[in-house]
Amino acid sequence: MRLGGPRKRTRSARPESPLVCRWDLDKTYLRSEFTTLRQLLRTAFERPEQKVDVPGVAELIRGLKAAAESRGQTALVYFVSASPPQIGKSIRAKLALDGVPYDGIVFKNQLEHLRRGKFRNLREHVGFKLVELLRGHLAAPADTRELCFGDDWESDSLIYSLYADILAGRLATAPLTALLMRIRVDPLLVAEVVELATRVPARDAVERIFINLERRTPPATFRLFGPRVVPTFNYFQTAVVLAMMGRLRLADVTRIGAVLVERSGYTARRLDNSLDDLVRRGLLTLSAAERLAAPLRAAGLLSHPAPRTRWRRMLGRLGRWRPRRPEVRPSAPPGALDYDAILARVQPAARRAAATGGRP
C-alpha cells in the first residue's frame, strides 16, 4: 500500500534503481553520550551489549532493505562515523547483535590527525564526511537513489545538504571551495572534496535527508535547508514519511510502532501525537495519515478517536471545525540553498568570518 499517491516518473528514478541509505552512527543509530570526558571514555570502552540503539532504528533499516527487495530493488546501507576505527570492532558486534544488515562502515582516523598535529580536525567532520560520502557515491551504480540519515548534534543537515547539492550539480567548484574554507575545513580535505566533486556526474540523487531530533532542536531551525531535510522526533515519524514516499511498507511502519510500544514504553497516544505532528508540519497529508491510521488502529498501536457529538460531526462535515492544514512540502528544493544564511545560523565562527570578509 502506497500512502502518498501515485509517483511521478519525471521526478523519481526507475523502480529498479538501487537505493543507498547513508547513516550517521552516534545519536542517529546509537544513543551515545559524550558531552563529558567521562562519558566519552565510557563510550569508547563500552561492550557491544552495553551500547544502546535509538528505538526503532534497527527495524527501520531492516524494513528499508526488505521493502526494496520486495520491489526487486537493491538497498545498500552504509555507515559513516566520525568515531575512531578503534571502536569499530565493538560497533560491528553491536550491529550484528541488532541483526542490522549493512554493506559498509567508515570511521574517522582520529589518531592520524593527532599524529599530524591537526587538532581542529578532531572535532571538524564536514571535510571528512563529504570525502567519504562522495567516494561512496562514486563507487555506487550510476543511477543510485539516496537517502541520508543524521541527527541534530553536529552538522549532519549541513553536510548532507552540501553532498546533495554537489551531486545535483548545484554547487560549482568556486562557491564550494569558498564555503568549505569558511567552515574551516582542512585545506587538504577541501582539495579532495573539490576533486571528487568534479568527477561526480550531475544528478539529483538524494531524495531526502532525515534528521533525528535527538536534542529536540526546534524544527523551524531546519527551514533554511529546504524541504529535502526532514526533521523527525522519533523513528516512527521517519518510517511514516518513508512509507509515504513508497520506501517502506505499511507492515514495516506497524512493526516499528510495535517495537516502540513494546520496548520503549510508547503509548498509543504518543504515536497518535507523533502522527498529528507530521500532519501539522506539512510532512504528511491528512488523507495519507487517515489511510495509515486505520491499520495501525486495528493493530492496537493508535487510540480510537473519541466519539463526537452529533452536532460536532455535522459541523465537522461542513468544515467548521477543521483547521487549515499546511500543504505537504515538495521533496526537492527549487534551487541551491542559501548557504550564507545557513552558516550564519549554524556556525558562529563562520558568521564572524563572514563579517570579516570571509577570512576564517
Binding site: 532542536t217 526546534p218 523551524a220 497518535d272 501525537n273 498529528d276 508540519r281 473519541a306 471545525w321 499546511p326
Partner: protein
C-alpha cells in the same frame, strides 16, 4: 499520566508564552498536554521552540475570549478556546484545565460544565502566594480563598471554603494538618459582623480541620495560617494589595537607584539577596490558582503569565489530578456534613 488541557489563546502573552510553557513541560515530564486554540498559530509557535510532540496534542478552535470581555456575554461563544477546553475536561477528554484567560469567563465556564462537589454550594478561587514561615514543616506558600469567584458569602459557604482549602493544602502542600484561619478585622471571635461571627462559631465547633481562629490583614504574609478564608470581594482586594506592594517596592528601588549613586551602589551589593527575594515572591514560581468546589479541576493562571508560570501551573494541575484533590475535598465535605 494525567492529561491536562491548556487554553493556548488565553492570557496577555498568548499563545507565545503558553505554547513555550507547554513545550517545556513536554520535554521535562510525561504529562500529556492538549493545547486548545488556533492550530495554525499554535504550530507556528511550537516549531520555533524545543518540544516533544509525543506529549502534545492540539484541539483546534477558532475563537478567543478577550481579557476585558464581559464574561456573561463571552459564554455565548461556544467555539472559544476557554469553553472548548473546559468542555474537553467535562467530557473526560482531559483530567484538568489550565488557563491564563479571562477570570470571570473561566469561573462561569467551570460553573456551566463542571458539577459541584456534593454538599458544596459555591465554588472558590483559591490563590497561592508566598509568605513567611513561622512553624516547622510549613509550606512556603499559603492559600487564600476565595479571591473572586463568590463575591458575597454566607457563613456556611465560608465553612465550605475552609474545608476545601484544608483538603487542597493537605494534598498539594503536603501539610498533614494545615492551620486554617478566617480573615477578619480583629482576632476576637466577636469581630466582623454576623456572617463572620457565625462562621467562626461553626469552624470552632467543627472537627477534622485545624482552625486557629481569626487573622488580620498583617497576618496574611506571616506564617500564622496555611489556609486563610474570606469572601471573594475581600480576598480579591487583599490579593491585589499584596501584589501591588511588591511591585511598588521594586519600582521605588529602581527609581531610587537611578537618582542616587549611593543607592545604586547599595542595591548592587544587595543584588543577590534582592534576586532571591524576587524569586520567592514571583508568581511564576507557583503556577496558578485552583478553582475549588467542582468535581473537575481548573487552574487559573495570572493573566500576565510567562512560560515558566504556565509550565508550573500545568505541573500543579497534574499533581492535583494524581493526588485526587477533588476526591479529597469531597471526602472532607462528607465528614463535616
Amino acid at each position: 499520566m494525567p492529561t491536562i488541557a491548556i487554553d493556548a489563546m488565553g492570557g496577555d502573552h498568548a499563545p507565545e508564552e503558553v505554547v513555550k510553557g507547554v513545550a517545556q513541560v513536554s520535554l521535562a515530564t510525561d504529562i500529556e498536554c492538549v493545547l486548545v486554540g488556533d492550530e495554525r498559530r499554535i504550530q507556528e509557535q511550537l516549531e520555533g521552540v524545543s518540544y516533544n510532540p509525543e506529549h502534545i496534542a492540539i484541539l483546534h478552535c477558532r475563537d478567543v475570549i478577550g481579557m476585558a470581555e464581559n464574561p456573561r456575554e463571552a459564554m455565548r461563544r461556544r467555539d472559544a478556546s476557554l469553553l472548548v477546553g473546559t468542555r474537553a475536561v467535562a467530557e473526560d477528554r482531559a483530567d484538568a484545565f489550565v488557563t491564563a484567560g479571562n477570570t470571570g469567563a473561566c469561573i462561569l465556564a467551570c460553573a456551566k460544565y463542571f458539577p459541584l462537589i456534593r454538599g458544596i454550594r459555591r465554588a472558590a478561587l483559591a490563590s497561592v502566594y508566598p509568605r513567611h514561615i513561622e512553624y516547622p514543616g510549613q509550606d512556603r506558600f499559603a492559600l487564600l480563598l476565595d479571591v473572586g469567584a463568590t463575591v458575597r458569602c454566607e457563613a456556611e459557604e465560608l465553612v465550605h471554603f475552609a474545608v476545601m482549602g484544608a483538603g487542597y493544602a493537605r494534598r498539594i502542600s503536603k501539610v498533614a494538618s494545615p492551620r486554617v484561619a478566617l480573615l477578619n478585622m480583629g482576632s476576637e471571635e466577636t469581630k466582623g459582623g454576623e456572617t463572620l461571627v457565625a462562621a467562626h462559631r461553626r469552624l470552632r465547633a467543627l472537627g477534622g480541620i485545624n482552625f486557629v481562629g481569626n487573622v488580620e490583614g498583617n497576618d496574611l504574609v506571616r506564617g500564622r495560617a496555611d489556609v486563610i478564608v474570606c469572601e471573594g470581594l475581600v480576598g480579591n482586594i487583599a490579593l491585589k494589595l499584596i501584589e501591588g506592594v511588591s511591585e511598588v517596592f521594586t519600582d521605588l528601588a529602581s527609581v531610587a537607584a537611578e537618582r542616587r549613586l549611593t543607592w545604586r551602589f547599595g542595591l548592587r551589593l544587595l543584588a543577590r539577596g534582592i534576586e532571591r527575594l524576587r524569586e520567592l515572591t514571583d508568581y511564576a514560581q507557583y503556577g496558578g490558582s485552583p478553582i475549588l468546589g467542582f468535581e473537575r479541576l481548573c487552574i487559573k493562571c495570572h493573566g500576565r503569565s510567562t512560560a515558566q508560570a504556565v509550565a508550573n501551573a500545568v505541573k500543579v494541575a497534574a499533581k492535583a489530578v494524581r493526588d485526587r484533590v477533588p476526591a479529597e475535598i469531597a471526602a472532607a465535605v462528607t465528614v463535616v456534613g
